[in-house]
């Protein structure tokens, strides 16, 4: 793995000038992913914050070939490009080793893009799919997705007098992707550059489909203080809300174990979308969330021990 100094010297492929919000996780994620790939790379992007903010014609933040077609189909779009690569390489029309990366938000991954993602994973295209997961449809106005956590207030699961924010827990996309028997899947955060860079490196050196789920803070939708963006992702890890782990050929590995598991309130209290949960009367929801975080954490530990 390259050192931070070496990374800093690499040519940037996701460059400044984009219109992402200050304190947005997506820009940091895109930059780190692109820095980790020291090869010719074709990027696909689902419709979403990252795409609309980085490609406003006639400008582009992508100093590498880039394609966007629609919202629900980045995995299918890149499937086509990767298939063309295989056949053109066979014909000797291309001599480079090309890496394919698809970026999708959680809506474009967990919800509307799940079918095309599943298809591409099943077919085993050699690509890295990065879900920059800000846990709601932030680009279109903070609507809930199946990645939105229990209790979060969004514009379509607002905290009201009767309903206290989203009723369901988030979909377990990692298990779904791992169930495709893909050779590499990992979960990471932008707040630990070495973790994300390491995982991207592993993924692009994997012969087949790989998937990385990255927690992406959204200062508008969560909302949080912009300067807290990276820190907040580390707190997600410390509370075991967002464990850092990977699954290589079916073998789970925990990449970081907090010395002391922090209570979930440490994560909740930093974000406006959970503010109502910390008011009197909603203690039972916080308890439920803690219970589910614990359950998922224990389940993950078991998988790491037994797989």
């Amino acid at each position: 793995m390259p050192s931070i100094k070496e990374l800093a010297k690499r040519k940037e492929k996701f460059v400044s000038g984009h219109r992402l919000c200050p304190g947005c996780g997506a820009g940091v994620i895109a930059r780190l992913v692109m820095l980790a790939i020291d090869k010719p790379v074709v990027v696909g992007c689902a419709t979403g914050c990252l795409e609309v903010s980085s490609t406003i014609f006639p400008y582009s933040s992508w100093d590498t070939p880039f394609i966007h077609s629609a919202f629900e189909n980045v995995a299918a779009t890149i499937s086509g490009a990767e298939s063309a690569y295989k056949v053109l390489k066979k014909q000797g029309k291309i001599d480079k080793d090309i890496v394919f990366v698809a970026f999708g938000g959680d809506g474009g991954t967990y919800d509307i893009g799940l079918q095309s993602l599943s298809g591409a994973a099943e077919r085993g295209h050699r690509m890295l799919y990065v879900c920059y997961n800000n846990q709601a449809y932030m680009n279109t106005g903070i609507q809930r997705s199946s990645a939105t956590p229990r209790g979060a207030s969004t514009t379509t699961s607002p905290a009201g007098k009767v309903i206290p924010g989203k009723l369901q827990f988030s979909k377990d996309i990692m298990s779904i992707m791992i169930a495709h028997n893909i050779p590499y899947a990992a979960q990471t955060i932008p707040g630990r550059w070495n973790d994300i860079v390491n995982k991207v490196e592993k993924a692009i050196n994997t012969d087949g489909f790989s998937f990385i789920n990255v927690l992406s803070p959204c200062r508008l939708g969560w909302p949080h203080k912009p300067e807290m963006a990276m820190e907040i992702t580390r707190i997600a890890v410390e509370t075991c809300f967002w464990p850092l782990y990977e699954c290589e050929n079916g073998k789970y590995k925990l990449n970081y174990k907090p010395k002391e598991k922090k209570p979930i309130t440490e994560w909740l209290k930093l974000q406006g979308r959970f503010a109502h949960l910390l008011k009197p009367g909603n203690e039972h929801i916080v308890e439920e969330i803690q219970k589910e975080v614990d359950r998922r954490w224990e389940e993950l530990l078991k998988k790491c021990e037994t797989s």
């Binding site: 966007h68 189909n73 299918a76 086509g80 056949v87």
Partner: protein, 393 residues
Amino acid sequence: MPSKRVTKTGNEIFAEAMRQINPDVVAAYPITPATEIVQIFSQFVADGIVKTEYVAVESEHSAMSACIGSAATGARTMTGTSSQGLALMWEMLYIAAGLRLPIIMAVVNRALSAPINIHCDHSDTMGARDSGWIQIYSENVQEAYDNLVQAVKIAEHPEVRLPVMATTDGFILSHCLEVAEILDDETVQKFIGEPPKRPTIFDFENPITLGALDLQDYYFEHRRQVAETMKKSIRVIDEVADEYAKLTGRKYSFFESYYLDDAEYAIVLIGSTAGTAKDVVDKLRNEGKKVGLMKIRVFRPFDYLRVRKALENIKIIGVMDRADGLNSFCGPLFSEICTCLYESEKKPALMNFIYGLGGREVREEDIETVFEELFKIEKQGKTVNTKYIGVRE
């Protein structure tokens, strides 16, 4: 030129043309109703007789998405679909055209749900008529072959770079055996040539951002370019037809005129019904009636000027639509014919007939009924509203 006669169904001939075109990538999905085209073609892939990378995607939406990703690299890219499959591709059809990607698609025309139906009508492609795809329709299996081969050259022409769909009528052509003449593989390859160079996402020296966000300041200009390109493609479609005629002796135009020159009554229609209509025209001509037929081959772009010129001297025209506009007035072909004749000083009388929906059989008697309606108009001195042919009401 070396050619041979074969007996094939419409689906088989499309697959055979695809084998000869030997595209880099085919991405397809067998939605209900599935077409055999890509099944036959996958056998060619499995047997190693084409170089194609076959992407067996999980939906038609992904089929067109994968075609977009593939075509963006400069690879020659094809697919095939029908009915609901085309409907599911809708969103991506517009994107393929807007990104100026020369994807070639074989379409079997079949009805759209509901009710669910797998038989012929033109509702599927008529709905896609404003998507920016060039549309070429076929009367028979021979034309299906000729149209698909020409489609490659039209789509990839540097002045066009638009996707093209070539179509056949479901079952009537797709599943019926006909004799057709096909070129040999080498001649097809020579005719279509290597795909001309265009900007691609495999250019790392000059990386492009394809599919950028266009706001109020640029979107309109880019759409305007597509409109202008569609206009320019008329000349290219003619050029490709001329070149193809030199190879095969089969000369294609935007439409075929059958006894139109001195006709007083004519039918305008699209697709396989032209065969039946020609027989009726022959019969009525033998009876001394001055009748004729215009078969539209290229519906997008629509060659208004030439269609007008060919029709304006006719007294009464019946336009037969195998798709309903459900607009309380007429079908889509009728709208086009009306529009192109509006500026003619002669203004023939026009009447619209909707026919053959969901595979309802069209017999010679039905075409005769249409002509009788046209004769009636002359006697009554006025046109009547859209008439439905062959339906119980």
